[in-house]
Amino acid sequence: MKALILVGGYGTRLRPLTLSVPKPLVDFCNKPILLHQVEALVKAGVDHVVLAVSYMSELLEREMRVQEERLGIRISLSHETEPLGTAGPLALARELLNVDNEPFFVLNSDVICDFPFRDMLQFHRNHGREGTIVVTRVEEPSKYGVVVFEADSGKIHRFVEKPQVFVSNKINAGMYIFNPSMLSRIELRPTSIEKEIFPVMAEQGHLYSMELQGFWMDIGQPKDFLTGMCMYLQSVRQHAPDRLRTGPGFLGNVLVDPTAQIGENCTIGPNVSIGAGVVVEDGVRIKRCTVMKGARVRSHSWLESCIVGWSSSVGQWVRMENVTVLGEDVIVNDELYLNGANVLPHKSINESVPEPRIIM
């Protein structure tokens, strides 16, 4: 089976992290975002993944060769040289997707959840129509595209984009299954799948929705990245608790790479992920943070709701909070206070940032 992952472009909402690596390769709980998705697809029987990208990255290409080998599948890159919207990339990859008569998956690269790919396939075969959209329930639907459907069958009536009044609390979760025949609906030009393709399919009774069980998050920006991390770690606790680190000094759900070192008298967690080769010195308190590979957090510091980028160094007696994001190789000097600071790569911070701002 095949899958198309809509990777898109520069991932600007996840800067400064995406200034160093393309978004699919940003580590989420110690594994590149893309790999969470690809591994789940492979488990569901996918043997060919197509990445729809609008900017070509050598780094991404190289990493995909490695994963091809490792997973024993084929990974292609479909490069749109001009913007094609949300549907156009499917048309661009038509040759790759239309090979046999099997349905193919399409997913948004920012989505994290308990990927239900086998259930999707089952559900899709059962209704026998052209398309299935996964929907999920959210608290604030007006930020998203809302789906209105028949409760028992899942047959979709219509879509409402960012509704001002309450219509439904089920939104498009960014995961689909289509029959190759639907590709003929899409021309090779900038096309919006939500505005131009789906409404027609729904009208013709060819679009069904499957409700997602469990957590869901769009981790395309730092605040949501951290929220998604909390949800994912909770899911790990339910399905594979041995992966989490427990014991004195560890609270709640904490994921620590085996090559990381944690000092004495630290209190780590809840909701922390610590990457490979990270060094956390004595007396450190970390809550609700992601610490990327190779970073160092020096003694007596206090971190809450932060992302510490690869190889960064946080000094002694530093306090960081409120979605402070350090890009790659950032140095934060001793005794500083960072509140909501967004720090670009290779920067050295010598002054406190008491109110949220961007440090270039």
Binding site: R285, H300, W302, E335, Y337
Partner: protein, 423 residues
């Protein structure tokens, strides 16, 4: 023989020192580990022929003041008496009111010092200077150089550069007059009372002519600066002895107490090297000038300084960082907390990993003549970032941040605060 008079003010004065002045009269607030007044008394007691120190102010006699005086007399072996004004008489009025006490014993000269200044107290030098300049009974003001902009916050002195005579004196002018400012330390002799007396007479006459007004315009209320110095300038009687700028500061607000501590701690290298802590085996890491009272209990993994004073019975836990701060008696700083640019009140507690931080209001380090600002508390409707002050018996919970805030005594906080006064 010589005497010294220290003007210590009273509770209505020094409101900028709240909330610290709720617990202790401002002149007794510890600066660089010892009460503010003690620096003055030590300096006076060292002057040869100093026979008596008089304190003039309008504090009601209280336990702390009395106890301080008793201890000081014993330690410095010199009579020290407190003369209480019956009401606020101004910087000159108190002197005049107690003139008999001051001149009893016929001192040749006497120093007058304001309690709320921090200085190297070059008293012996002022004495030699007085003998070499002007008439036999001339008076001397200690002066220092300020920068143009800040000079207008002080008493400004225009001097004859050759003779050092004070030609003109204006207190807090609204336009630039001179960058030489009054340090609040004077050398007088009994002749001064003639001059104060004539101002007193004049005030009484004026009062008879005018409608009765409230408090400040009593005849007995005389301000040395506006009423006496201004009149004496240019008459060949008043001279200025200039001292180095970096060894003098006013102590008006709590923030300036930290700056004054820094000056005194620095002076300890020459005056009291035994008061400075050093790096020892099994002791905390010391950076720069730090005072630690012998009864304080400090974990060896803590790092203190520069410019830190630790009071009696203070407990400092593992991995604590204190910098540019004053920690008052009985306070407890728990593991890994960080205290920067703050004053932590008596018996307060700071929880683990908490951060207590203020903003220094130090003078511009690039300007050798800049002085500490007497900042207003609010500017454009917002609290001006300044030193964080915790009053006595305040509890700060773990892991919070208290930034640029003032916390009144006996308060138990339960969350972070920034840029606020917490009642």
């Amino acid at each position: 023989m010589l005497k010294a008079v220290i003007l210590i003010g009273g509770p209505q004065k020094g409101t900028r020192f709240r909330p610290l002045s709720f617990e202790v009269p401002k002149p007794l607030f510890p600066v660089a580990g010892v009460p503010m007044l003690q620096h003055h008394i030590e300096a006076c007691a060292k002057v040869p022929n100093m026979k008596e120190i008089l304190l003039i102010g309008f504090y009601q006699p209280n336990e702390e003041l009395t106890r301080f005086l008793v201890n000081a007399q014993q330690e410095f072996k010199i009579p020290i008496r407190y003369l209480q004004e019956y009401s606020a008489l101004g910087t000159g009025g108190g002197l005049y009111h107690f003139r008999d006490q001051i001149v009893s014993g016929s001192p040749e000269a006497f120093f007058v010092l304001n309690a709320d200044v921090c200085s190297a107290f070059p008293l012996v030098e002022m004495l030699s200077f007085q003998k070499e300049h002007g008439e036999e009974n001339s008076f001397v003001i200690l002066g220092t150089t300020s920068n143009r902009k800040q000079s207008m916050n002080y008493g400004c002195i225009v001097e004859n550069e050759k003779t050092n005579e004070v030609l003109h004196y204006v207190e807090k002018p609204s336009t630039f007059v001179s960058d030489i400012i009054n340090c609040g330390i004077y050398l007088f002799n009994p002749d001064i009372f003639q001059h104060i007396g004539s101002v007193f007479q004049k005030n009484q006459q004026d009062m008879l002519l005018e409608e009765p007004t409230n408090g400040w315009h009593r005849a007995e209320a005389i301000r040395l600066e506006q009423d006496i110095f201004t009149a004496l300038a240019g008459q060949g009687k008043l001279y200025v002895y200039k001292t180095h700028s970096f060894s003098w500061s006013q102590i008006k607000s709590a923030g300036s107490a930290i700056y004054a501590s820094r000056l005194y701690l620095n002076q300890y290298h020459t005056t009291h090297p035994e008061r400075l802590a050093s790096n020892k085996e099994g002791g905390p890491t010391i950076r720069g000038n730090v005072y630690i009272h012998p009864t304080a209990n400090i974990d060896p993994t803590a790092m203190l300084g520069p410019n830190v004073s630790i009071g009696t019975g203070v407990t400092i836990g593992a991995g604590v960082r204190v910098r540019e701060s004053i920690i008052l008696h009985g306070a407890t700083l728990q593991d890994h907390c960080c205290v920067l640019n703050s004053i932590v009140g008596w018996d307060s507690t700071i929880g683990k990993w908490a951060r207590v931080e203020g903003t220094p209001s130090d003078p511009n380090p690039n300007d050798p003549y800049a002085k500490i600002d007497s900042e207003t508390l609010f500017r454009e409707g917002k609290l001006t970032p300044s030193i964080t002050i915790l009053g006595c018996n305040v509890t700060i919970p773990s892991e919070v941040i208290i930034l640029n805030s003032i916390v009144l005594p006996h308060k138990d906080l339960n969350r972070s605060f920034k840029n606020q006064i917490i009642l």
